[in-house]
Symmetry: C2
Subunit: 354 residues, 2 copies
């Protein structure tokens, strides 16, 4: 327990997560290896649970943290808006409140995604000029990682929201993937102009208008190109993005379990699998990289990171690394500037800004 | 060469396909093992190429076939409508013409998907009562295969088209997967009513109206459920379906090449991979089953089957089996009856039928 002086404060929702609070706190503890000295943690959750873990972890015990007792927990099957409104004393709601009041710079949760998106959107204000938040994810590509957004925050976007998503994703790719001029592609069903739908056509022509000045727009891409690293930022609406994300996650689990079944089918295969087990471990790490444990909800005036429900301590520590990077690189400041620039080009008449 | 008396005639576009006409004809030859005696093939393509293959294949030579010379070939990168309109003497155009004129019952092509969909839609008439065709695909699920449609024929459907897709996919699942009452699910981003978008809500309520009488509607499903066999027919619009299909195909290739790279990384892993190579072969067959080599374009008054460009002889033979099954089970007759039934329930006023 320690000083309240700190340059960066991270709010941690300790109660979400399938593996329980201890695994989550172990992730926080792991992050101390790279955390700067002036980092402080706000730990939101049941005080006795958190204290009991900390007593067993001298590293975390000697760090800069404050426990914020939260008697309630939002379950994984609660409905988005109801969950956040009915459980004002939940760890997630109280952590969001700390963000809203400017007491924390970023927040991490492994809890209910719908509640976190709804809560973030309702409680935390959007960045000036941004109309809708977007959930951004990192995916493995053939040569390197890439980002895809929106993964479900806004299932009914207008073309202008898609353009803003491109700016948000581009800035996230700069920080999280260390790219200087990330290439942006708009996901559609055929790369000839005229294919797709009206929203795609409008977003495409707006993106062309801000190409070069605000972002690096590479044009339309198809589903089979997303893993080929033709672009670094894949932009789509939240309906498509959510379905593609969930389908791809499930498919990679399915292939994993088919492979597992096939390798156990006889003694010869089992022996082979034992010899090459390093390959399967590396494959898993390449598909589900621990260093990118979190998906940010972008477009708000504070950083919110959603980690997967099944995150282990390595994923949590990876997500904390990303949260820190976003704050340290002042991603929000850069987004603000880019959004202002794009709005000037695309919306010269402020009266038409909604 | 032989009689023109036949109960079933299949038109084969011999010139499409990445592996060339010989591999395609080898697939036709392979299908003779299960083909009924009264099956006839119309082989559309360059006469010298086809004749040269047939001279080397006594089995095909003694079968019931007619060569239809087609001097032109539609390339894989030609634009949908332009390709089909500019190359009237291509193997694909002439095969479609034979369907249109009722000379063939079904057609198989490995060629340009866009051209085949456009050509099928323009040349072959829709089934009475059906407004738009849909491309239907078969996917591997955890326990068994399932169908997903529309994979891209209609990227801007109205809710009523989605309902018709459900009927089309249901009938296809009956024949291709041998199911009696296939369960239908509508793909969206959250299973609570109210999530998704307006089109999903309208289609959902229409599907509920015809549940029980016309089809077996199980409700809304999310992206992560599609591989879990909660339903047998996943219905979505052609924009989402095309993107999900292509993304999933690319992802499984990506995982395959990651696995391959990892298994070659050192001598120990290579030895292990050699011992368990049967597992990798079985995995590949489970993910990309040869028996379902073709995707039908449903909703037309003739059966059109699109096989993958990279199909080998086994995929071609699998696709021919499906084409035959569709004709022998009179799928079109059953679709016609179901569409009429659904239209009576959902569109009692014929004046509102468009």
């Amino acid at each position: 327990m320690s000083s309240t002086e700190a340059r960066i404060t991270l709010a941690i929702d300790v109660m979400g997560g399938d593996k329980g609070p201890d695994e989550l706190l172990a992730g926080v503890s792991k992050s101390l290896a790279f955390a700067p000295r002036d980092l402080r943690f706000f730990l939101f959750g049941k005080e006795d649970v958190i204290s009991s873990y900390i007593e067993r972890d001298p590293l975390l015990e000697s760090s800069n943290f404050i426990i914020h007792h939260a008697p309630e927990v939002i379950g994984m099957d609660e409905k988005p808006i109801a969950g956040i409104k009915n459980k004002k004393d939940s760890s997630m709601s109280l952590a969001l409140q700390a963000l809203k009041e400017g007491e924390a710079d970023a927040m991490l949760s492994c809890g209910n995604t719908g509640c976190l998106m709804a809560g973030g959107t309702i409680r935390v204000r959007p960045l000036e000029g941004v109309e809708r938040p977007a959930l951004c994810t990192i995916w493995p590509g053939r040569e390197r990682y890439f980002t895809l957004l929106d993964a479900g925050a806004n299932p009914l976007p207008k073309p202008f929201h898609i353009v803003q998503n491109a700016i948000l994703g581009s800035n996230y790719a700069r920080v999280a993937l260390g790219l200087v001029r990330p290439k942006v592609g708009l996901l559609t069903i055929g790369t000839e102009e005229g294919k797709g739908n009206e929203m795609i056509h409008e977003a495409h022509s707006m993106l062309k208008e801000i190409d070069g000045s605000i972002l690096n727009y590479a044009g339309l891409i198809e589903g089979f190109q997303i893993f080929d690293n033709v672009v670094d930022v894949v932009v789509c609406d939240g309906f498509v993005g959510n379905i593609v994300l969930k389908a791809c996650e499930s498919l990679s689990k399915l292939i994993g379990s088919f492979l597992d079944e096939e390798l156990r089918r006889n003694a010869l295969r089992k022996t082979g699998a034992l010899l090459s087990k390093g390959a399967f471990k590396s494959l898993k790490q390449r598909i589900n990289p621990e260093q990118f444990g979190g998906a940010p909800l972008l477009g708000l005036n504070r950083n919110i990171i959603k980690a997967h429900g099944s995150s282990n301590r390595n994923h949590i520590s990876g997500a904390i690394k990303i949260a820190l990077d976003l704050v340290q690189h002042d991603m929000l400041g850069q987004v603000l500037e880019d959004v202002r620039g794009a709005n000037e080009i695309l919306r010269p008449d402020p009266m038409s800004a909604q």
